[in-house]
Structures are given as C-alpha cells and as structure tokens.
Assembly symmetry: D2
Homo-oligomer: 461 residues x 4
C-alpha cells in the first residue's frame, strides 16, 4: 500500500502526477492522493476575502471568480478533456458558493473566522476535482473527497485547527475502501468540526493532511512530492556542493524544519513518526531520483553531523538584570508579553547566572518585541534590554552527536580558527542540534567552514 | 570616605569588626556600618513565627524570648561591659515588642506578611544595639539606626521588598551627618514603606542594604566583610588549587552569583555598578588579606576566563513537540505554569528548530515542575516531557571571552578530549558566560579540566 | 410641516395611506413618511434566518424568496401598475441579496448578530419601494430611503440598537430637502453604524424611527397611523364602554405603555417629548376620526385619572428573609441573577421592613426566574421564595393624581367595597401611576369598578 | 426549661438579672443565660482598635485597659464581693490579651478583620465573668462560656458572621448538661470558625446568639430582657398613647424591625420562628410586666392592624426613562451600583409601566446613591434621576390585613381626608405591611391619623 501527497501547480505537474500514479498503481500499489490548491490560488483567496470585507465600493467578486474559473478550466481541458463538461458543472457549483460567500461577506462587511476558513478551502475544492478527473481520464477510477468526507475531524481553532485523535478510525473506514479499485483524491489543508463546519489546518496544511491520512490508513510509506530533489545537507544557494541526504531520522528532519521549511514542516513528521511510517520526499519533475527518506533512528547512517541549517538574517535581543535571579515570575512576564504581541521566539538562551536571557526573533517581529519588553522592564526587575538586528543563526544537526563527546569542540574550534565570534550558543538535551548565532557578516563563512569540517559534500560510505 | 557591611556572628567577630573600624577610622576614614543579625537568629525567628501561627497549644514564646535575651546579653557583656545595663534596657524593650507580636499572632492564629516581616526584623534590631555599644566602648561615637531611620524606603512587597529610588537622598541626609564624628550602625535587611511599615529585603538583604547605603552616600568603596578570603576561581571544595581573584569586573561577579552565592548576591552588585563604586570582599578573620575587588571592566586583567562555577546537582527537563514550532503562546504557557508553581528556572535553551526547550531546575523543584508541565502538555502542543535528575551545571565566566573567537572551541575541545558529553549548552549574547550541563558523574571532571585548561590556579601577571 | 409613520399591511392599507398623503399634501403640508414591513414579513424573516442556520439539509431558500416576491409583486401591481416593471427590478436586486445572505448563513451554519439584522431589514427594504412607487403613481414625487441614507446613525448593539444624538443633524440635512417637492419614504426599524453596518432598532422600531425622524426635522406633529381609533381609557375587550382619550400627556402615555403596547411604545414618546412635538395616533381606516393626541402636561384636561391599564395574567414572586435587612448586596444578587436569566421584572415592591421583596414577571419568565432566584437563595440571606402564577396587574394612570390627596383612598375603598383583595401595591414618586396586583379572578372586576368609579366612559367637559 | 438573653448595663442591672434568675430557677426552671458587653464597652473597643491602627504616636493603650479594668472591677465588687479576687485574676488575663493585641495592631499599623473581631469580643469576655460570679455569689452554680465553648460555629465572614447549621447539636451537647444544676453564662455576639478563630455576629449579635442557643436547646421560650416594656403599637415619642402589644406574630414582629430596632432585630426572630419557640420581650426594670410575646400566627388576636412604624427622615430617589421598559439589565445596573457604594435601599417601588423606579434610602446614603446612579445614567437608559431629602416613611403592619379587602381603602381614605399626599406606596404579597412615603411635614400627622383610625391605643377585647 502506498500513499502520496502532492502540490498541484499547473497542468504539467498534474500530468506528471497522473503518470506517476499510473506507474505505481500498475505495479499493484494501493494509493490515496492528497492534493493542495493550484499555485497562487490560496493566496488569491486570502486577498479577495480581505478585500471584500474592507472595500466600501463594489469589490471585483465577479471578475475574481471568472478568472479563477478560466484558470481551472484551462487546466481541466488539458488533463481531462473527456470529462471537461461534467466536471465544470461541479466546479461551477463550487464557484457559485464561493461567489455567494464573498458577496455576503461584503454586504455585512464582516469576515468571521468561520467564513474565512470556508473561503480559503475553495482552492483545494477546485484542484481536487481536476486531479480526480485527470486520473479517470487515464483510466484510473477516482473520486474527490473533501476533508470532511475523508473523516478529518478537527477542533474549532479556525485558521490553524488541530486534528483530533478520533479522526483516525473515521479516515480509515472512509478512505481504505476507495483504494481497493481506485485512487481517491483528498482535498488537503481542510477538515471539519463535529458539527460539520469547515476548518483549515494552517501552514503546510496539505502535507500535514497527507501525514494524518497516511498514519490513519497505516500506509507503508508517505510520499511527499515537491519541487526539490530532497532534504539537503545545507542551503544550496550558499553551499554549492550541498548534497541530498538519502536517509535521515525523524528527529533530524524535525530539527531541520526552519531551514527546511520549503521541504517538510515538523507537523508533517510527527504523525508518521508516531506510527513509524517512512516519509519519502521526492521531486515531481525527477521521479526517478531517490529523494530523501525520513525514517526512524535505527536506519541512520554513521555520520554524526547530517546537515547544517542557516537563517540569514534575524535579530538578537538580550535582557540583563541582577534582580531576575531567582524570580520565577520574570520569565513568565517576558514570554507572556511576547506572546501577547504575537512575537515568535526562535532561540532562547539563559545561562546559569540567571541574570541574562538572550532571544532570537524574526526581523519583522523585533519592533513589537522591543515594545513588549520595554513594558516588562517597567516592572523593575530587568536592568536593560539591548538588541542587534544584524545576526545570522546556524544549527548543526545530527542524531549521532548525542553521546558523542568532542563534536561541540570540533564545531567551535573550526569556527574559532576561522575567526568567527559566537554571540549566542544553544544546545538542548536532545543533543541533536547545536544552534549558535554570529554576526551577519560571519554567517556564510560559518556555514561553509562547518560544511567542510564535517565533509558533508562527500557521500557517506 | 569608607563604608563597611558585615555579618555579626558572635562576640569574637564583633571584636574583630571593632578593631577593623578603629584602625580605618583612626586613618581618617569616615565610616558607616551595616550589620546583619547574629548567626542563626533570623532562622530562629522564622521558625518561631511559623510555630506560633500554627500551634494550637501554648507555644514556647517566653522560653524563646528568654534564650534570645541570654544569647545577646552574653555577647553584649563581652564586647561592651560598661554599657551593658543601659543597652539591655533597649534590648528588653525590643524583646517586649517581639513577645507581644508573637503572642498576638498566636492568639489570632494569623501571620500576615506584615507581621512576619516585623518579627524577622528583630535579629538586626538586637545585633545593631550591641555592635553600636561595642564601638562606643572602644571610644568611637556611634548610634544604631533601623532601616526606617536610615532612610531606606521600599515598596510594600513584604518579604522581598524593592528599595525605591527616592531612598538615595533620604539615606544621604540622615547617614552622612552621623559619619562626621562617629560610625553609625545601620540595621541591614530591613526598610520601611512610606507609611512607616517595616519591610524586609529578601535573600542577602544585609549586603544589599550595604550596597544601597554605599551608593546613596557616594562611598569611595563598599566593603563586604565575610568569612571567606574573596571571590575564587572555582569551588575550593572541589578544586583545591582554586585561587582568590584579586580584581573582577561587575559583570563577571554577577555571572558568578550562583556558585558565589555565599559571597556576593548579584543584587548587591547592581547599585554599586550603577555608581561605579568598587565593592571589596574581605575576610573578617584575615583583614590584612587583600580580598577581591569588584570594579568596572576597564580595570580588569587580561585573562579571558576568570572563573568556573559549578552546581553539583540539578535536574534537566526537556520539552519536545513539532507543534511548538511557530507558536508564541507555547513558551508563555510553559513559563506561566512554572511561575505559578514557584519553580525557578536556572538555565533555558531553545535551538533554532523551535521543537525542543531544555530547562535546568533545582532538584527540589523538579516534581512541581513536572506536574505543572504535564498540565501544559494536556494543551496539545508538547509531545513529550522528559527529565534527568542527575546532572551538573558548569559555567565558564570571563568578560574577555566577548569578541574573542576560539574560546568556545577551547572549552569544548578540552571537554571532548576528556570524554565529557554535553547534555545542554547555553551562551547568551553578553558572551561573559558559557554554561553547559553534563552527567553528574562528569561534573567534577569537567570543572577540573577547564580550571587546568585556562590555568586558573596560576597568578596572572 | 407634517410627518407620518405607518404600518403597511397590504394593498388596501397602502391605498389608504396614499389618499391620506394626497389630501394632506394638497393642503400644503410637507410630509415625510416612515414605513414598516408588510404584515407578517418580519416574523417570516426571523423564522427563515433561524432555519437556514440550523438546518443540515438544504433549507427552502428559493421557495421562501419566491413567495416573498409574489406577495410583494401582487401588492405592487395593485398600487403602482405603471412602475411595476422598473420597481420589480429594484425588488429583485434586494431579493438577490437576501438569497445570498441566507445561502451564506446556511453554508457556514453561522448566524452572526450582524447577518441577522441584515436579513431582518429586508421587510422594510421591500415595502418602502412599493409605497414610494404608489405615491409616484398618484402623482406625488417620492424616493425610498433606507435607514442609513436617511441619516439614522446607531451604536453597534445589534437587534436593539440605540440611535445616536449625532443622527439629528444628518437626518435633517438629508430628509428635509426631499420634502420640498415630494414625500420621501423612509424604511423604519433600521439604522446603520458609523461604518455603514445595518442595525435594527428592536420592538416597535418603526414608530421609534418615526419619532426620531420627526424630532430631527422639527416636525409640527408626528402622526402614528395604526389600526385602532386612539389611546383608550381601558382595554375595550373588557370594558365595552371604554372611550378614546382625545388628549393625553406624554407622561400618561408612557405609563400606559404596557397595556397600550399595541398603540405606542414609550420609546416612541421620548424623542417627541424632548422636543415638545405632539404625537397624534390615528386609525388608517377611519382617517376622519380625531384619534388621540399626546402632548405636554399644560394642555391636559382636568380629570385626575385618565385611564386604567390591565395585564390579564402575570406571575407574582415573593422573596422573604430577615437576613435581607440592611444588606445592600441582596438586591444586587437578585436583579443580577434575573438579568442573567433574561427575566424582565414588570413590578417591584419592597416595604420598609426590608424583609420582603415582591416582583411581578411575565408568565413565560416565571420558571427562569425561580431557577435564578433559587440560586440566589443558596447564598443564605433569603429564607423563602414563593410565587403565584395566577394574578392580574392593574394600573390607574393620571397626572392629575400628583399632589391630589384622596385618590388612593378612592381607588382602594372602591376595590374594598367590591371585595377585591390587594396582593401587592406600588406607587412611585411620579404619582402618575398607582399599580396593584389582584387574584386573577378579581382582575376584570377591579378594572370595571375603577372605570366606573372615575367615570371614564363619560366625556370630560 | 427556660432561657434568657440580656444586656448587662451596670451593677444594678446585673443585680436585677440575678434576682430574676433566682426567682425562675427556684421555680424549677432550667436556665441558660446569654449576655452582652457592659454598656458602651463595645463602642469603646471599636474606637480604640481604630485609634491604635492609625495613630503614629503612642496610643493610650495602658490608660484604656486600666479604665476598662476599673469599670469592671467596680461592678464585680458590687455584685460578687466574695469572688472578687479570683475573678479579677481571670479578668486580668483577658485584659493582658487585649493589651497585647492592641499593641501588636499598633506596632504593625495593621488591623485585620480577624484582629478586629478578636478585640471586639472582649466586651462579652469581661461581662460574662462578672455575671457568672454574681450568680455564684447568689448561690447558683454557674460557669462562663465563650462563643466557641458554647458551640457557636460560624463561617469566616468576620464582622457579620453567619451561624452554621452544625452549631445546633454542638450547642445542645455543651450547654444542656450545664443547665442541670446551674445556669451557664454564654458570651453573646461571638462565635468561632471551625479552626477556632474568633468571629462576631454583627448588629444585635447578643440577641441573635440568644435566639440561636434557644433554638438549639429546644427552649420552651426565649426571653429577651431589655429596657423597654415590650413591642409597642407605634413610636411612643410621637404617639403618647401608644400601647404595648401583648401578643404579636413572628411575621408582624419582623415587619416592625426598622422602627422596632431597639427591641428586636429580625435576625433574632428567624431561628425561633423556625422552631416555633415563643420569644418574650421583657423589661429588666419591671420584670412583673407581661411584656410582649412573639409567637406563631395561630395565637394572634383579631385586630387586622397591629402597629404603625415610622421613619422620620429619609430620602426618596426617582429614576425615570422610557428605555428602562423591557430591559432586565437596568435594574441590575441600578442595584449593583448602589451595592458597590454600600447604599442600603429601604423601600423600592416600580409600577407596571416599567418606566419609573422609586427608592427610599437613608439620608446619610443619599449622596453616595446619587453619585452611583449618575454613573448608571451615563449608560443611556435612564432619562432622569430626581430626589427629595425631606420625606418620612410609614408602615401599617398586621397579618390580619392579608386577605381582608378594604384595609388599604381605610388607610388611604383616612390619609386623604387628613389632606396627606402620598409620594410612594409599596405593599408586598405577604400583605402584612403597607408602606408609604409622605412629605416630612405630613409624617407625624399620618402616624397619628392611622393610630386613631385603627384604634390602636385601645385594648383589644
């Protein structure tokens, strides 16, 4: 039994997906497919939702819906000519609903969380119809399923809903029968509440849907089809000789999340990890390449360091004050203020003196963070708040580092020899990741030095 | 102008204090003295306060007060024979008040924060009477001042009150005139609110009082008299060749706080640092030794590493979960839960993957911390909470490390060679402190290795 | 300058309204007209809104909209044949919007306060188009104005919005110019917020709109066209010889509110009272009858008692408890619990012993009230809560009673002679209303006795 | 079995109490006695508690305690010469505790609710010692019991604690055995919590204690000894021919509370009423007079009106506004605002139009009430708040009025004939009380007229 999740960029990609499915299906694999919206569509839906809510004039709802129709019709005609007419009927029904909700939002000038999720879900509603038709055109039996029909039950946290455990048996009982003699096409990114209200799953929602479905149906493997060759040893834009990693453990893949965001969100790994199902990352355009396979630690190769991630430009904030020592409430105040200002903290470091906390935040969040922290400073326990806008964050990742003395020494000695000064270091007890922060000017050098130090561009034996 | 803060253990210590004061006074220095309670007295007051509140029978208030009286009378007779009678009258007045409040607390079975602070303040009330008498006996003009009389104004945060900025001019105007032709003896650890309600200043409160008074009167130096020779390069119980550090910067001294708790609390350094007043730590029993002098960075010696602190036995907690990624609210939930359970977090480390946070907490707080975190885990974003009761924390401290590439490499290479595995690392952007955590079995070895690596037992030139 | 508010039952009523307007207009009066929805339409809109929100199947949106269309088309054809086609275009636009919002509410299964008000407002949107067309058909220039266009600005309290003071100049500047050479038709019951969001004004909203507009344009009189001959001395279903009251003061009219609810809601009187504008109540079917005129006290006739109201069936609740005495918090607890349970209290009586509070509530609210009060009783200060489902409330109303000793004596002596027992009495300091409660069996007798006592069926001189 | 509660003014009263007890005891009655503090003592304790909390100088604690000692010693010597010495020892122990707590409160400048109740309880602690000694002197076996020893268990609502139901069996098991061969003297006004913390019971606390104890021990009668002849038909300062009422029902007695506050607080009646125990009010100075007996309705005489109460000077507030109609939240807002400002409302009247609420409040509370109500008025539903400082409240009380038509007519006709204008009327459904408000100038006249109308100065048959 196999399983695939894919993005659906355009007609060419759909063509490739169909031929891939044909091949694996003819080899006797049972397959379920989870699809995302066509490229750009989700963003356009976000934009039009926001526009109709705010616009006091007549917003271009008709024009928007028409252009969406043309776009999808063109692709449909290309990949499933024979069914074009009947599928367009389904698509027109969807578009009618979309038009309706956009008009209602405009008339009320009210975009509730519920209506927003409903609007956003139309990207997958349309693409799944087309992909399913393309499969039928290729002689493969197929029906499209929306998230609710597929059994993906979530809480009511609209915009970033959490899939509930009771989804598993529902998904299994609904999807597996359809895989006997065909390939069901499931709309990714969306689920529904117990009352049948549509929800969306947040960032990387389609891959997350694929992992959820894969885990629910006890798939042999979850395949994520992307536009890259696999998970790489480092950012190939900086390290030209970066290499695809053939096998990588779940934990390592999670630690690569940030740098590897284009590839795999950690949420996608967790459901697979809990069932021990391998997740294969493959390139739709080069289906013959092996890609990367994410699997449990037992299968890992011997390298201690697997990859080095890089965040080019972040901001560092330092909080200092002798009065922070021994006061449990200070950390609470800091992280409450940051959370209320929607500031995401990427790294945290507090040494044993308890009189300093260093934080790394996204450049875009720096101002909000400083405003929030100045408020906390008024409270009297923090002496000063300083910051540096111009730093890079690097992380050395590898499960082999756990319990291997000397790796940190190699990392920092290599950096020291290269004259790279360390502004912040953080290694947690998983020992899978040593993160550090350097001046922005030193960032790429640090990446280069360590990629060489651990010979990541060379194939392992 | 000079200034001294001291603990008042027993009659011998008082004798030494008097002769020290005599010497410096005769050299033409103007001196104010801040004293703590006699050894053990503060703890006894805490204990009796708690007992009278809870006991349903008649608690031994009389016996307690009598034993306190004997203890102080004995010392008074030894150090200020001539004034014994008149001073005992003052002491008896104080003891009458103490007896009164203890009886009232018992009758009401109610120990308010206010009454607790009032009770605790009697340690200093008694000792200051005696020290002041001893000075007079030695021919030095002296009056005792309680915190309120000395002008130490605080907020109403009983048990850990914060000294208000408006204290400075009040202290100056009250204390300086008394230093013209005598040595005022100020009761440490206590202040009062604007309404004259007695408050106490929390841990190391007497030293904190000394620093506050020193800063307020623009002292040339603040001298803290202790029972150790000074601030040392490491814990002498483990590193026999640990050495007293002659000069150390404010920032370094603050970073040594935890290990150096017996010597200087970071709160004591902050007021002096803000005015640039050197803080000298000296041994009452060896007044001729130079001790350590804490002063601004400009005067520091060239060593990059100054000292290595050690916490023998702490607990490590690790929180993991892919869903933590990109959610500002998770850190808030964690630190709010810990603060509500009064858990103090000694070290924090979150690497750039955002899917792990490692924490170090006191052994005694581990159970509370786990209970609190399990509650947070129910919230759904944390996959697992693991912990290790058996770890040691080490910190390498030195302002010279800032901007000096290679130090981290030296630290971790030395440890790697010694086979020490690193469970957690944290370096903040002050770059004055590299903290790390190792298995408890490796702790002392790590300390030894690094003390040698940086040749801390050798005098710097 | 004149002004009229009217209900728009069916084509016959519209015909009458048009001829009334024709008559007064031809006499040189400037007129603005405020209209309500056609009979039954508002209730139907409430019902369909609720149905589409809850129904999981396809609710009959199309059928509903079609039937609404037929109903209005029939009337339109009858009253404004010539414009039928062009006006139906406008009506169809409205119906399209209505259909749209009903579909959206169904798709989301979410009826927000905002969408509910929007849906409900369609009754007036449709009727105003028709009435305006009917006026044009009769040769009177006319345009329809929705609440927003008419300048009725409200707060955001959807479902029962409060008209803001700044509406006055807006209404004046928008409505008065249209009255120069025509009769604008304003949709009653609806207004809009500063952001242009539609709101509705709650019970008797159309009359309230008329009063607001009348006050804003400094109308000479506000005419409320109804289906009754005017405000009567008592309920004519019980007192056959009840009589229309030709002139009545604002205060009296407000006190008659409950019984007179079919005629004038007190909210309708307040805006007119503040400007001293007479409010005339007339019967659409008998426009030549004088009706009742509500005006300031100066014009009142000499009768001390003007009318006697009657509420046939209400419930009485009594709270008793010695501990209520002298505790300000008990009344708070009682009225907070009742408000939280949405229980409206029609009468309240607490005598000087402070150990009893008697309340009158609507029969429908009794169970909720008892549940709420039992909760309060747990609090410990109320000994017992008793009730009687079977009582009637009567009120004797007249501004002449103020300062006239002996009226209460006449009232209660007359009742005593008739053997009517008084279960509760309440007279407030306005002295305009003596309310009392009797056994349901005595209710009509009490009404009869007092109507006779004060000779209300006889014309005043 | 008998039971008595008494105030303990001075030595003469104690003498009388002793001879009364002797008499009834010798007749074979089993007696328990509840005593209050000596006159003025409770107020003095309140005053000194407040003084020591606020005074920054040395407050006159010693002088106060000494004067208290003299006062009680003098009485003790007069009534129990033989035991003077031993009882003074007990009294001195109590005074030592009182001095202690006053000193502690002064030193901390903190008067907690708990310490206040403790201080206030000393009035009864001292008086009970003396009364008990006086009984022993007269040859009657007696021990004093404080509230805690007597089993009076309360909640922690200091200053106005509520006696818990579980007190009953405790009181019975502790007090009854002591009544076999003696007369226990119970300190009134005080109880204790489950943890043994002293509480006080609030206004008329000693009578309340007597009622609680009487109900707990299933007394045949509860006798309240006062300085008046009994409950009167009206205020004898105004109605010279007012008469003592020999028998009166529980409900009537409660309704007389306000006017009759000097005699019986309604709280005192409730516990007796629940057990059906008669409460006899007698004059200590004229023990042979029958006094008044409060008992169940069955025993009442035939008069419909029993008494007329009078509150000379109160304030009337009227709230008007058409928008109050049909809004459950308005009454909540009003009574919440008044409760937060500690305004006690003596009478409430809201007639059926729901557009007026009239309130009677104490003169002293008027300003607070107006401030609070003006805040509510900002909310927008109340048009105007008016008031009259100069009114009197009268209440006609009698259980016979219930179900007797015509009484209200008699009341108001008599007033009308006398030219008395009624500003507010309130009769609740208990029908035991018709309250009304008149101009202050009419108050006494109204009282007189009604006392005559119902011939209250004549003995009933």
């Amino acid at each position: 039994m196999k399983f695939g999740g894919t993005s659906v960029g355009d007609d060419k990609i759909i063509g490739r997906v169909v031929s891939i499915i044909e091949k694996y299906s003819s080899e006797g694999n049972e397959i379920a497919l989870v699809v995302s919206a066509m490229s750009g569509v989700t963003d356009q839906l976000h934009a039009i939702a926001s526009e109709v809510e705010k616009s006091s004039d007549n917003p271009p709802v008709d024009a928007f819906v028409n252009s969406l129709r043309s776009k999808h019709k063109k692709v449909l005609d290309a990949v499933a000519k024979d069914e074009s007419e009947s599928v367009m009927k389904e698509i027109d029904k969807s578009l009618e609903n979309l038009k309706n909700i956009l008009t209602a939002v405009h008339n009320l000038r009210e975009l509730t969380l519920r209506s927003k999720d409903y609007i956003i879900s139309f990207g997958e509603r349309l693409s799944a119809q087309i992909v399913s038709a393309a499969l039928r055109q290729a002689g493969i039996s197929s029906v499209p399923l929306n998230g609710c029909e597929a059994g993906i039950l979530t809480n009511t946290n609209h915009g970033c809903a959490h899939v509930l455990p009771e989804s598993s048996p529902r998904i299994k009982s609904r999807v597996v029968p359809l895989m006997q003699d065909g390939v069901p096409v499931i709309m990714g990114y969306m689920g529904c509440t117990g009352e049948g209200i549509v929800t969306t799953l947040g960032r990387s929602g389609s891959d997350y849907s694929a992992a959820i479905v894969g885990a629910a149906i006890d798939a042999d493997e979850v395949w994520i089809w992307t536009d890259v060759d696999g998970i790489m040893t480092s950012d190939p834009r900086i390290i030209e000789d970066a290499r695809v990693i053939p096998e990588i453990s779940y934990l390592e893949a999670m630690e690569l999340s940030y740098f590897g965001a284009e590839v795999l969100h950690p949420r996608t790994i967790e459901p697979a990890m809990q069932k021990g199902i391998p997740v294969r990352v493959k390139n739709t355009f080069k289906p013959d390449l092996p890609g990367s396979c994410v699997l449990s630690d037992k299968h890992r190769d011997e390298r201690v360091v697997k990859a080095i991630t890089f965040i080019d430009k972040v901001s560092l904030i330092n909080l200092a004050g002798a009065q922070m020592f021994g006061r449990p409430g200070v950390a609470r105040s800091i992280f409450t203020a940051l959370a209320e200002s929607q500031v995401n903290v990427m790294m945290i470091s507090q040494g044993s003196s308890e009189s300093n906390i260093s934080l790394i935040v996204d450049d875009d969040h720096l101002n909000n963070a400083l405003t929030a922290l100045n408020r906390v400073q008024q409270g009297g326990y923090i002496r000063e708040v300083t910051y540096d806008r111009d730093v890079s964050a690097v992380a050395v990742v590898g499960v082999g580092m756990a319990g291997a003395p000397g790796i940190a020494g190699r990392v920092f000695t290599a950096l020291g020899k290269a004259g790279v000064n360390l502004m912040m270091i953080s290694q947690g007890s998983s020992e899978v990741n040593i993160s550090f922060v350097v001046k922005h000017d030193d960032g790429r050098k640090a990446l280069r030095v360590l990629h060489d130090e651990f010979m990541l561009s060379e194939d392992s034996e």
